[in-house]
Symmetry: C2
Subunit: 316 residues, 2 copies
Amino acid sequence: MSILAVGTVALDSIETPFGAAEDVLGGSATYITLAARYLTDPVRLVGVVGHDFPVAYRQRLQNSGVDLDGLEVDEEGRTFAWEGRYHYDLNERETLATHLNVLDAFEPVIPDAYRSSGIVCLGNLHPTTQRDVLAQVEAPRLTICDTMNFWISSTPDALRETLSLVDALIINGAEARELADEPNLILAAREIRAMGPEILVIKKGEHGALLFADDVIFSAPAYPLEDICDPTGAGDAFMGGFAGYLAQRSTIDVEALKTAVIYGSAMASFVVERFGPERLYDLGPTEIHQRLDAFRDLSTIPVYPDGHGLVMDVSR
Amino acid sequence: MSILAVGTVALDSIETPFGAAEDVLGGSATYITLAARYLTDPVRLVGVVGHDFPVAYRQRLQNSGVDLDGLEVDEEGRTFAWEGRYHYDLNERETLATHLNVLDAFEPVIPDAYRSSGIVCLGNLHPTTQRDVLAQVEAPRLTICDTMNFWISSTPDALRETLSLVDALIINGAEARELADEPNLILAAREIRAMGPEILVIKKGEHGALLFADDVIFSAPAYPLEDICDPTGAGDAFMGGFAGYLAQRSTIDVEALKTAVIYGSAMASFVVERFGPERLYDLGPTEIHQRLDAFRDLSTIPVYPDGHGLVMDVSR
């Protein structure tokens, strides 16, 4: 099944306690497509870059098999650039600078050939832009959306309207709490799903992820990494792995969604090992399978050797 | 297999956003034994109370099948009392008052009949007191220890000595980070295990728990509770469930430890539903089995319908 990813293509400059990298390829659409591309074909990207976008980066995406017919080049401006810093607590990120550049006037136009894509991934963009994309696609099997605290607080009404239109929302724990104005994640999930998305994934970084679908909750572990180099793009790679796996399945049921969460978690776990999307360029199938198996080992509860353990009745 | 639990028996006064309770039965030894008692027999308690300890509370423990021959009554003083408050973020607890009372002079004496207990649970006490207990027991199959930030910062040397003597340590994430002086939990776990305990459990509250044993990491989910009434005692009930399950097993291997983490998590999940240990008085076997099954449902990754999902080789 085809995937359409609409989002940012960026030049990221990143500082972490483990080093720094300047003007690396970044952006939500970049990470979504680079991760999804291991799992399905075609993977289509809609985004915008400026005149300064390096030819080598375009080549990288193309060599990875991402369909770039929807990547607009705005010769009038420079590519969207983000500068950020992470501290030892890698859950906290500090934005040093955001240069919107060509993103400021970006109005995504979905090429005709992309309109009937099976799964539509909406990277973090203005909620109204996300809605404009949805208006240009024809009955996708699944629509998946991301957002961030900035839109939750500054454009709540537009966000609510977009949420009422999507099938799935993937956000982090702090965003879920803020969106629902509720500290308990289980209650927050209920409120958010009432806003529209039947499927909700809450990403919790080093604590894994929670899936809410039907009347089921699924708790996925985090891959235990001793060295996290750079968390940038992990959430987008999650969406790419999640969508990519679902694109393989004829039925998108709860079992498929649970497995998709593991594929998303695996892709995210690779991304954080290096600066930028470095790890997503050269993963081999064996390596991906081993990572997926590791998630299974990590969370499998042994089968009780003798049915259940013994439980006594001690009330008197 | 028998369990010996040494720790506090307390009168707790608790405020949460959902209500308040005064002078309820509390203390680490209380929660450990009340939880373990569902899983093994005998469960022995060593602790101290004062002249004011309500007869009804002693009766409660006795009716639950806890062996109280080791519960010292110090007629000279009052029972250890703790007053605390939880805010909406139930992970943060504020201690309003700690009245050590009879606990101040407490030097646990292990009754002869208790010295050969199979599993020894050391609730949160001064590390030197914990070590004194270990000196009085005869080759237990397993020793399990708890501690807290207060001992980590104020008696680091004594704590290190105790840690060098125990098989297992059960602490929360903040304590693990502080003890190892390392923000990454996976690295922190490695450092802590080098201090002595081969088995380490890191409790993460609403994010579940991590087990480190042999070269294995196991990630247990948290039970998704919409209403958490009072977190007091959850960690101690975890230890009780963990130890209680292990007491059933002839071999304490990694598989047994993983299952024990689920039993511990289940007991903790019951405790937080009511004020004090209320839920631990009247659990039925069916209810416990259902909770254990819920943990399994929550974290089971579906078996890939066609072996692994398809993973493409996209590098060129």
